[in-house]
């Protein structure tokens, strides 16, 4: 048996004590603090400025909290600020953006997920060629295609309309989304797919009843990518739509960059926050799923 007299159980026991203010901790938390400030400070300035009246802003001191809180700038940004010729604030742009984003996101995710599923599971003839072309598409700079698409949309009579822009967003989302879905679906066990085939499920049966229910994380990732990407888009919005259907980002630009009158910093700040609110909300609501999905898709290619 063990010789218990050779040593006694003295000395260190239990968890190892750690110093709260070791050099390592100070460095670590110090860095984190600086980075946090770097990101949080502009947001803070925007919020406080948007809540001040113009006289107070003119006094300088952008860091001071508002002496007198006013929501006037927010109301003005939403419904009265002048965007070019009309003066009805961001509201029109907001609703345009909603009408652009929702169909684009839904359409692109549906098409890309079916693409990815077909590429991952049904190794059809020419699948690899198709996939290579698609990935290649992801690397072509947008600028190259701007004008050709203008012509194409004009030819089919959709230039300047919301529908045209929806199509453009859907197409441009395709390479990256298909890649995302393909990789996720190939990371799912192949035997599940085989079992479902033996069980008599067809292409759509397997997609809807087996694949989609297992893929909530990747659908969330795709949704976040698309909502933020399309909502924040400025270039396509300017190029492919007309003044009456400009998305919110373009309206924002027109408010902030309007050359007449005085610069209303508070209104500009409020308008900017309003425009960023949608992506921000999406991140907060689905952040956890987003991280999980990114990790899941990354495991296998």
């Amino acid at each position: 048996m063990v010789d218990t007299t050779s040593h006694t159980f003295t000395g260190p026991h239990g968890p190892k004590p750690r110093k709260a203010f070791s050099r390592r901790n100070i460095f670590l938390y110090g860095t984190l603090l600086v980075v946090t400030l770097y990101y949080a400070l502009p947001l803070y300035i925007m919020i406080v400025t948007s809540l001040k009246g113009m006289p107070e802003i003119r006094m300088g001191n952008i860091f001071a909290p508002p002496l007198e809180v006013t929501f006037e700038p927010w109301v003005k940004a939403w419904s009265q600020a002048c965007t070019g010729l009309t003066c009805d604030g961001l509201s029109t742009g907001f609703w345009n953006s909603v009408r652009i984003t929702i169909p684009s996101v839904i359409l692109s995710i549906i098409i890309a997920s079916v693409n990815g599923y077909a590429l991952a599971n049904w190794k059809f003839k020419g699948a690899n060629v198709f996939f290579t072309i698609l990935i290649f598409g992801a690397f072509i700079p947008y600028q190259v295609m701007l004008y050709p698409i203008v012509i194409m949309l004009r030819e089919i009579g959709l230039y300047g309309s919301l529908t045209g822009l929806v199509i453009v967003h859907t197409v441009f989302g395709m390479p990256i989304l298909t890649l995302l879905f393909r990789n996720y679906f190939s990371s799912l066990p192949e035997e599940l797919f085989k079992a479902a085939r033996v069980d008599g499920a067809g292409f759509w049966g397997i997609y809807f009843r087996i694949m989609v229910p297992m893929s909530l994380p990747i659908f969330t990732v795709a949704m976040i990518l698309q909502v933020t990407g399309i909502w924040n888009d400025f270039l396509f919005g300017v190029v492919y739509t007309g003044p009456e259907s400009y998305p919110m980002t373009v309206s924002l630009n027109n408010i902030v960059n309007s050359s007449q009158g005085v610069k209303e910093y508070n209104v500009n700040m409020a308008a900017t926050i309003l425009t960023g609110l949608v992506p921000l909300t999406i991140y907060f609501v689905s952040g956890k799923l987003f991280v999980r999905g990114i990790a899941a898709g990354a495991v296998k290619g």
């Binding site: 066990p189 035997e191 085989k194 079992a195 085939r197 033996v198 069980d199 499920a201 297992m214």
Partner: protein
């Protein structure tokens, strides 16, 4: 008796790699066939071809007399059980069992009665409302078997169904599969790495190597009369002892030892002369009082002992080559001791040295 599954000249290649080559196989109704072979020899590929999950490159597959070479998996009358269980994670056990039946558009009452029967047979009734994540490995595999069972098919395909389970559970489920086969009497094709599984379950075993079937026969035949050295080496644990020598005047000569071959049943009828390998299973070597009856006897020195509980494996040298002997677990022997061993050539196997085929 009609055949349940017939495979004719089956070829399968992935790109330039030929995985299955001109494979022929006939499986009788109600037969339990085990496909056995080392990793990468094409067992799963063959099973997937039978299931219709892989498109063949050449040849035909018939199930119950119908040519199903181009048929969809669900139209072939097969059920399949996978190594990783492959249960649909988002469905309950009941949902898993009913999925195939719903796809086949069976009436609700029939679905329910089939699930009930399968659940009884496999003793998974209390689990029906659970999700697969809430089941143990053994329970999951039971459900996976149930999924094949409810479909009421003639042919069951198993791809290493027990290799993810621990040893005890594996033994339990093995017995259960055997019992299931007895009561259902349907055809089963079963892929495994595990010799014990193969020997205990199979009516016939097909030993595969490099996409071809080396030997097809009953477990006894495979064990007792392996057709070549590969099969002889592959089957049996611990594996067969091989000694290289010459046959001359009806006896096997290795070094200065002469093993008489009067009682050996040569495949060609009479003895052949020439360079030969003799294969002797460790369990066919006798020791102790039995040595006296053996036609060939030799004294060896023990160099290593491996006790396994039920048996004791003894390493020694015969004609300068490593040689293993299986003795009773009760045997009291020690390293360095002299031991007299006896060999009965009737139990041995002789292979041509070059072609490695059985003589």
């Amino acid at each position: 008796m009609t055949n349940s599954v017939e495979i004719k000249n089956l070829d399968l290649q992935f790109g330039a790699i030929k995985v299955l080559q001109d494979l022929n196989l006939e499986i009788g109704k109600g037969e339990f066939l085990v496909l056995l072979g080392s990793s990468g020899c094409g067992k799963s590929t063959l099973l997937n071809c039978i299931a219709g999950l892989l498109d063949v490159s050449g040849g035909q597959i018939h199930i119950n007399g119908t040519n199903v070479t181009w048929a969809e998996p669900s139209e072939r009358g097969i059920g399949m059980v996978f190594q990783s269980y492959a249960l649909y994670p988002q469905m309950t056990v009941e949902g898993n069992l009913s999925f195939g039946l719903k796809n086949a558009k069976l009436p609700k009452s029939q679905i329910e009665s089939r699930i009930k029967r399968a659940a009884e047979v496999l003793q998974i009734e209390p689990l029906l409302k659970r999700k697969p994540a809430a089941l143990s490995g053994g329970q999951r595999q039971r459900v996976a078997i149930g999924r094949a069972l409810v479909r009421d098919v003639d042919v069951f395909l198993f791809d290493e169904p027990l290799s993810n389970l621990d040893a005890k559970l594996r033994a339990d489920l093995r017995v259960e599969i055997k019992r299931l086969h007895h009561s259902l009497q349907n055809t089963m094709i079963y892929v495994t790495h595990d010799q014990i599984e193969a020997m205990t379950l199979a009516d016939r075993i097909a030993i595969m190597r490099g996409g071809q079937i080396m030997q097809l026969g009953s477990p006894d035949e495979i064990y007792g009369r392996p057709v070549n050295k590969y099969v002889a080496d592959f089957i049996g644990s611990p594996s067969m002892n091989f000694l290289e020598g010459k046959i001359n005047e009806g006896a096997f000569h290795v070094g200065d030892l002469v093993i008489p071959l009067e009682r050996y049943a040569f495949a060609g009828g009479g003895p052949v002369n020439g360079d030969t390998t003799i294969g002797i299973r460790p369990e066919h070597v006798v020791t102790g009082e039995l040595v006296g009856n053996a036609p060939f006897q030799v004294d060896v020195e023990i160099s290593l002992i491996e006790p396994t509980g039920s048996d004791t494996l003894v390493d020694c040298k015969v004609a300068g080559k490593h040689f293993r002997v299986r003795m009773d677990g009760q045997s009291r022997v020690s390293v360095g001791e002299k031991l007299r061993i006896g060999i009965n050539p009737a139990m041995a196997s002789l292979f041509d040295l070059k072609s490695e085929l059985r003589l």
